[in-house]
């Protein structure tokens, strides 16, 4: 691999901008995600920036179950992300539907609609586990090169 390619790979792994989408969660996992950005965990030391725009995001964090109403929104957000990007599903709900999986309107986990690269379990997922998941997602960039 040439020097430039290696430099770009390093830049990608050093500068993950996150988009957080609440797909229908109970808000438990979302609070834990925001906790990662507070002084206690300070995800910004890894270059993480929480953005509000799918077009600027490198990592899509999804919490909550997918249902008939929000599957379209999730698919559009994923489509709007500029490549390369990775998807991290957070919490039991995003993995499989969790406690809501039997509900008539629920489709199940996030991977029913878009491809998921990293699964972070927990109900809610702990901030440490979320940070682990984000760092694992950075390694996925290496695989995608």
């Amino acid at each position: 691999m040439g020097f430039v390619a290696r430099l770009i790979g390093k830049a990608r792994r050093s500068s993950p901008w996150l988009l957080h989408f609440d797909c229908g969660s109970c808000n438990g996992c979302d609070i834990e995600i925001l906790a990662c950005l507070t002084p206690v965990y300070d995800l910004e030391r890894f270059g993480v920036v929480n953005v509000g725009n799918p077009k600027h995001a490198d990592i899509l964090l999804v919490t909550g179950t997918v249902n008939q109403r929000n599957r379209q929104v999730l698919a559009v957000l994923f489509e709007q992300m500029a490549k390369p990007g990775v998807v991290v599903a957070i919490g039991a709900c995003a993995l499989s539907g969790g406690v809501f999986r039997e509900a008539p309107n629920v489709l199940g986990g996030v991977d029913r609609v878009i491809p998921v690269d990293v699964y972070v379990p927990g109900c809610p997922a702990r901030p440490e586990a979320i940070i682990d998941g984000v760092l694992l997602a950075l390694e996925k960039f290496r695989e995608k090169e």
């Binding site: 430099l7 770009i8 390093k10 830049a11 990608r12 050093s14 500068s15 002084p39 300070d42 910004e44 030391r45 890894f46 270059g47 920036v49 929480n50 953005v51 509000g52 725009n53 077009k55 600027h56 490198d58 500029a82 490549k83 390369p84």
Partner: protein, 283 residues
Amino acid sequence: MEVMLTAGLSLATLPVAILLGGLLSGIDRRLTARLQSRQGPPLSQPFFDVLKLLAKERVVTNPWQAFAPVTALGSAALALVLFAAQGDLLVILFVHLVGGVFLVLGALASGSPYSQIAGQRELWQMFCCETLLFLIAGGLYLSTGSFRVSGATGLPAPLLFRLPLLFAAFVFALTVKMRKSPFDLAGCQHAHQELVRGVYTEYVGPHLGLLEIAHWLEVVLYLAVGSLFWATGWGMVLLPLAAFLAVIVLDNIAARLTWRWMLGRGWGVAFVLAAVNLFWLKG
């Protein structure tokens, strides 16, 4: 021969200015993190951000979005080179204005309401900054008899003593230009809910990266204008640095205000200060 040398030296300032701009942005993020008792990203973070953006996929929904970033970067770079060549401050300001106009054009070319609102606010911000900078150019003329940047160097006493109120107006303009609170109305990093990313919302990947570099260069240009107020010895570095740090501290202790406040109270007061200074120089 001499012209060639000046041109070469002035062009050589560009890479230096890009490095300096990125470093200043890194200092900004690190200092802000410290003020919030966080550790913050490494100083090299802005360079990684820009490199990553440049290597991302191109997504263009409107040709203006591809054209505007190149123009914005070109105009900021040309303005800086002219400054390094000790050119005419009025020309430098006009050249620099072009980039801002194209940034807004690109933002307004998209249908996104966030870009639309922020584009209009950005026009007001440009109005605030540019009028004050033109008054500073006027102050330079009244005290040195020339609009040329070279006039400020080699004065017996720093210009700051003759233009103290204009310097206060300059710090206001710097806050607006750096997109810092309380005037981060048009392209702030932290206004997800109301603005997303303001004028930058619809620029993606490489185009956003170019705009980021253009913004670094603009900040460096402003700080260079600030250095005219003390154009001898260490004061040339220390005075703009102090202004820069003051803006970052202000960013961390102030909340976002409305554009009406910026225009009415902020610009109004700064304009009066600048005008008083000019009349005082004349009389």
